[in-house]
Symmetry: C2
DNA sequence: CTATATATGCTCTAGTTGAGCATTAATAAT
DNA sequence: ATTATTAATGCTCAACTAGAGCATATATAG
């Protein structure tokens, strides 16, 4: 698990980082570990070229070792190699004094949040680190109150007109001004913009401040882990629409409301109930188990299961392989840019 | 450009690989370089932690150096680290005797294929390496004639029933049997299946043969470059549908037929002309330049430009940021599985 | 027996998509 | 000139999809 090689100049270490996501009720969760610097971070470990035939095997090995969880669905996200965006404490556990740490991020999904018995490890609501991404109860107040004004300052502080224009266009796109509105899967775009503008704490930590550093209620994460988490959230949100990936996060059977709450937790905005069921229904992705759930608080709900063998039905003909048909949030921050 | 460090055991080298894509008429092209083993490969170079602040900067630097081209649009694809899938000749130019080469693939787009004056470097039609991916003139004959039968053998040669079932499901999904049909963006899934089944030449080269090795008219590429190219094609195909990325590959002005031919070259199947124009039209992505093209062979066509500042128009209201609305190829290989 | 909280069925309208007919405007071949 | 041939463009039509919301049914908690 450790790279025990003396490190000459220019030595490279590849860090594998896991975003293990789950949903519990209406809480989107991510498995976090307390890092040396006291911040929350993701589980990670060095890739060992000697013993790991592939990244994914290496990842599964160290996650199981560190958290005693076995991973199911796993997907590579992105490889970050930017100098200076890993925190100083990011020197990997092996103790190697690497010149350069490259982070390969992975997304893993769990069908529920098993309790963790480990010290300094916990399932955390990912919106604790991304309060501006949760529109389920309307526009997140932090947006119009703090973020948009700070971005406006950043735009206006650009040296010349072209740069200013470019910044404005990027903000418009990422935050959904004057376009089709907030696109939930642009989580990384938004985070990167906040970083560049010096609004999130990591920017100051890395010494990249150039805009208006802000007193945003802002839960930084260790190293470049919030960047990786942003990537994961965006990927997951986007993928819901074209692969039946949501069922990797559901228990064996569930009600349609369970399913809806899970989807809403991930995408971060509310859905029209009847239309949601209609969509699920003729997606052919699920079928009734025949049992009912009594724990609804109202009329009992039918329980459903993911239909892995859906080759039948008219709907299955077409929609199948795809994911869920979801509408768009048609809102934008109310504060003008 | 070279890692001049003595390599202890376990030393890692990160290779940056560029898929530089362009379209010329109805030919989808990729910039290739002749590798040491005589096969075509992609331009690549080692990532130098000393001088490159980010991967992307490193990539841009060595591509410009090697091919004298300046890259515009660039996007990271995937990081491959599987032991044994780089060819023996994959030891990077620096001459380092690395134990392990990790490949980071990038997709770069060019608005045309400028002629290359370099030795052993050429724009090549990517379907030369993926003949089964081009359905523009109907089902590629290689599919039913060779590939499907070979995959059938591979499925049947599975040791036990569960494995057999799993293989069959994967093939069904990747090649569009009994589902919504051929999904053009699954290029990588299909290539990986052919690799695992021992059907493509790289599998034999890497010593991974386990199925029926085949005499497919099959243009292998150096190292893991065909895998990277498959990733690039799939990503590009998928992205056409949700980002206006096609315009990165078009000249400043073009006719709608030019645009359609370019899209068809990429997605690999023909489109309904009138519907295509209607779609482009109310996407709000382009507008007429006012000039006409005489070189159509028929009635002169209006010339269009990509409208980068589309914040106007009713259609722009919604569709905008998105890409093109494209139909699906509703076909599957005719040979039964 | 009456709120309350969901679950579930259904309808209505506007818009989108897949196909294809018809017409217009160039060039190339009698 | 006339007549193919090749595309560019305009339009229509039916089937389907998506966004909203009304109406009912069936539990549990007073």
């Amino acid at each position: 698990m450790q790279i025990d090689v003396p490190s000459p100049a220019g030595h490279l270490v590849i860090g594998l980082n896991a975003v293990l996501a789950a949903v519990e009720g209406d809480h989107p969760l991510v498995l976090c570990a307390r890092a040396d610097d006291g911040l929350w971070g993701l589980p990670y470990g060095p890739f060992d070229p000697e013993s790991h035939r592939t990244f994914e095997l290496g990842l599964r090995a160290f996650v199981t070792e560190q958290t005693r969880m076995r991973l199911g669905y796993v997907e590579q996200l992105y490889t970050f190699g930017d100098k200076g965006r890993e925190a100083p404490s990011a020197v990997l556990r092996g103790g190697s004094t690497a010149d350069r740490v490259v982070s390969v991020g992975y997304l893993a999904l769990a069908p529920g949040a098993n309790p963790i018995e480990l010290e300094a490890t916990a399932w955390r609501n990912w919106y604790d680190h991304f309060p501006w991404e949760d529109w389920r109860k309307g526009e997140p107040s932090i947006l119009s109150a703090q973020i948009i004004p700070a971005l406006r300052d950043w735009i206006e502080s650009a040296e010349d007109a072209p740069l200013q224009r470019q910044r404005r266009d990027r903000v418009r796109l990422a935050f959904g001004f004057e376009t089709s509105g907030w696109e939930e899967e642009r989580t990384l775009d938004r985070y990167e913009l906040l970083y560049e503008a010096g609004i999130v704490a990591e920017a100051a930590r890395d010494g990249q401040i150039e805009g208006t550093p802000l007193q945003v209620a802002d839960a930084a994460m260790s190293s470049d882990h919030r960047r990786i988490l942003a990537t994961a959230i965006g990927r997951l949100r986007g993928k819901l629409r074209y692969r039946p990936i949501i069922f990797e996060m559901m228990p064996a059977s569930f009600t349609l409301l369970d399913l809806q709450r899970s989807v809403e937790a991930i995408i971060g905005f509310p859905l029209h109930k009847q239309n949601f069921r209609r969509g699920i229904d003729n997606s052919g992705l699920v079928h009734k188990t025949g049992n009912m759930s009594a724990e609804t608080g109202g009329r009992p709900a039918a329980l459903f299961t993911f239909d892995r063998s859906r080759t039948s039905g008219k709907a299955a003909q077409d929609r199948t392989i795809k994911g869920l048909t979801l509408p768009r949030l048609r809102l934008s921050p109310t504060e003008k840019l």
